[in-house]
Amino acid sequence: MDFLPQMTRRQFVRLTTLAGSGLTLGLVLPGCGSRQGASVGAPSAAEPLVMPFVRIAPDDTVTVICKHLEAGQGVWTGLPAIVAEELDAAWAQMRVASAPAEVPMYGNLALDPKGRIQGTGGSTAVANSWMQLRRAGATARAMLVQAAAQRWSVPTGEITVSAGIVTHTASGRKASFGELAGGAANVPVPEEVTLKDPSQFTLIGRGHLPRLDSRAKSSGRQTYAIDVELPGMMTAVVLRPPRFGGKAASFDAAKAKAVPGVVDVVAIPRGVAVVGRDLWSAKKGRDLLEVRWDESAAEKRGTGQLLAEYRRLAAGEKAVTVSSRGDADAALRHAHKVIEAEFEFPYLAHAPMEPLTAVCRLSADHCEIWAGDQFQTVDQMNAAREVGLQPHQVAINTLAAGGTFGRRATPDSDYISEVASIAKATGGRYPVRLIWTREDDITGGRYRPLNLHRISAGLTSNGKVAFRQRVVGQSIVAGTPFATMMKNGVDPTAVGGSAPEQYDLDDASVSWTPPQVGIPVLWWRSVENTHMAFSKEVMMDELAEAAKEDPIAFRLARLGSRPRHAAVLKLVADKAGWDQPFAGGKGRGRGVAIQESFGTVVAQIAEVTVTGNDIKVDRVVCAVDCGIAVTPDVIEAQMQSGIGFGLSAALYGAITLTDGRVDQSNFDGYRVLRINEMPKVIEVYIAPSTQPPSGVGEPGTPPIAPAVANAVRMATGIRLRRLPFDLAAARKA
């Protein structure tokens, strides 16, 4: 489990682009031209088969080259499963390695169909690799079969492959993949391959494929960026402005430099870096660093002032239309029952367990970076700019990330840019490792945006829902190279997944007002759905209650054109025993919520016990439709993870500011879910599907908070509309 070493890259003797357009023959990787002739030589049993996504070694191991970051979501298992299936490999022989930063070969086709951006996000890994890796596996299989046919002088049609063994039954001959790899490397790459019918799958969706990274991650042997050790490497920390938008005007490094072990103190665009022989000396040096900050352009407002501004904007006219059906205003005027509600969502930090870390080694014409890198192409460009090189001169070794939840994919590559700028400022004299402390992480920005929603929803006399929503929240992509994602003035990562997009409503509208705020924001696991699903699903519950209907029946009546949603909702209701009387009692309640995000539909039913103002989630039943379930055990794990992550935000998560300074700094102030707060029972059911797979890394998160809020309503009669939940405050309101 390692990044793909440079030496191995040079061994690539040909390139097959298996993405979309079929196979391209005879291409050679950049820098490999001199090795082109190597593939023409005589077959050798001890040679590997090396292709862009698959390497088969003489020792029988099959290594899948993974272009996506493994950050816990299981791509190091899911992507190899796709290859192994079409290759008819044995699971035990599968290995995985991170791809180098190389576009278009390793570009994310979901982010850009031309593959110009390598990166991981939007729960796209399995979805965009699905056909690409099936073809890669089938191609390698066909080449192994061809090599066996040549060696045995038999027709390819008489050869079978199963569990890593190639067999010619009539003659009783068998060979392993490793024995055939060298020969396979010298047969022509087939222009077309036949993929299996899903009914023939033997690995995909067929029970538990052990994760390829479990052993390393259960023994302390997994290497993360923070573990990288290079000869002569120094460690840096950065003192950043106390308010966002501030800049260092001047600094006095005398005391910092006097700390034993501190070797350099340098100004960089984002602050002042202290470099030491180890983290401890660098950190001690930083504690003594004196910086005068220029805060003339800094954001100085606190959360209260921001919310007041958001309320003013919510009441104003200025907004762009996100989604509109029929005439919501007219329908609301005629509605016999109208509910007005305001929802509030705080800034949220991602707080991955591995604080942001990157290592950089810089020479005159080359920059090499080690990181749990989520945005390789963007990071290459930004690092190149910092060090004055071209993007192709920046190599990125993508290591396992200790969590990300979106934090490592920043349009300005904040921590990658920082480490590159430190390497530049110190003249490349030593490799440098930048570590963000937890305080740097919690106070350092890139938060899920603060949001205020106002909804008016009503029931008309013929039982139809009228729905109008205003969302006030910062744009994530505005002012970044990703602003091209905006359509008709709407940032789809700031607002979306709304009621008119997810239910059959005749009269509904959603509008958005993005305020100008100097707090840096970013996509946070499931992005716009984190807040949009909440207000939508709580309002659906309120409407069902107003209509005196069962919350699931009420939703199903508005999902007629969405059979996947309806099926998932019925599945979760069935498994949770929704039609049975709830074994309630004082303080007990259950609630439901559903959201489609990233092409995956997830519904959850939460059962809670409320004691005083304390909310305990006892049981969660979850149903998911993510197309063909590639690795069901990983899907279950991602649903559990998404639920736990969402519960952290529902129960505790909030970043607040006072006069522009972040109030929280570590896990004491920024509380996250612990084992005693995790539901004891989480049941996950996967809806059967023959559709291509969609992602599971994020979609488990959005439904849990509204499901719990709806359960608390049943338990207490209190409607929770402000995150994180504060029952005491809600009772007073």
Binding site: D213, G220, D278, M353, E354, G402, R438, S641, I675, P679
Partner: protein, 156 residues
């Protein structure tokens, strides 16, 4: 200042700032990177090691406080409880990002060493100091029960 301690059974001598947290002595000076930095304030448990068999947060333990004592890190965890815990972690595919799991395993091994058949409440008590942002808690709980069962079935 020279500090002598035993790490994973080996006598080590370190010439370091005595106030340097044991975590950074292990990671930056003994190349034992299995023990992780998460918070620096004993709030998350990622840095958990055993000192004389007791789970301890190495991020707030000065290296001088470990002088003359037996330090065990994930790399040297070889007790029956430790082996059972690691095996259960693998069998149930507990890890996701995996970053916190060294600390989780050290805490779990410490729990089983003192309490071979923990209840759910015992697990909550022993493991609530270890944060997992991937929220692998359901499987952690199951793996601890499985490790306990393995230990109970093993011959003395």
């Amino acid at each position: 200042m020279s500090i002598r301690l035993t790490v994973n059974g080996q006598a080590r001598e370190l010439d370091l700032d005595p106030q340097m947290p044991l975590l950074w002595a292990l990671r930056d000076h003994l190349a034992l990177t299995g023990t992780k930095f998460g918070c620096g304030m004993a709030l998350c448990g990622a840095c958990t090691v055993h000192i004389d068999g007791q789970p301890t947060r190495s991020c707030v333990t000065p290296v001088a406080a470990a002088a003359g004592r037996q330090v065990t890190t994930i790399e040297g965890l070889s007790t029956p409880a430790g082996r059972a815990v690691e095996a259960a972690w693998v069998a149930l595919d507990v890890p996701q990002c995996g970053y916190c799991q060294s600390g989780q395993i050290m805490s779990a091994a410490g729990l089983l060493a003192s309490n071979p058949r923990p209840t759910d409440a015992d697990i909550d008590g022993a493991m609530a100091g270890n944060i997992c942002r991937c929220a692998t808690y359901v499987r952690i709980r199951r793996a601890i029960h499985q490790a306990a069962a393995t230990l109970a079935a093993a011959p003395e």
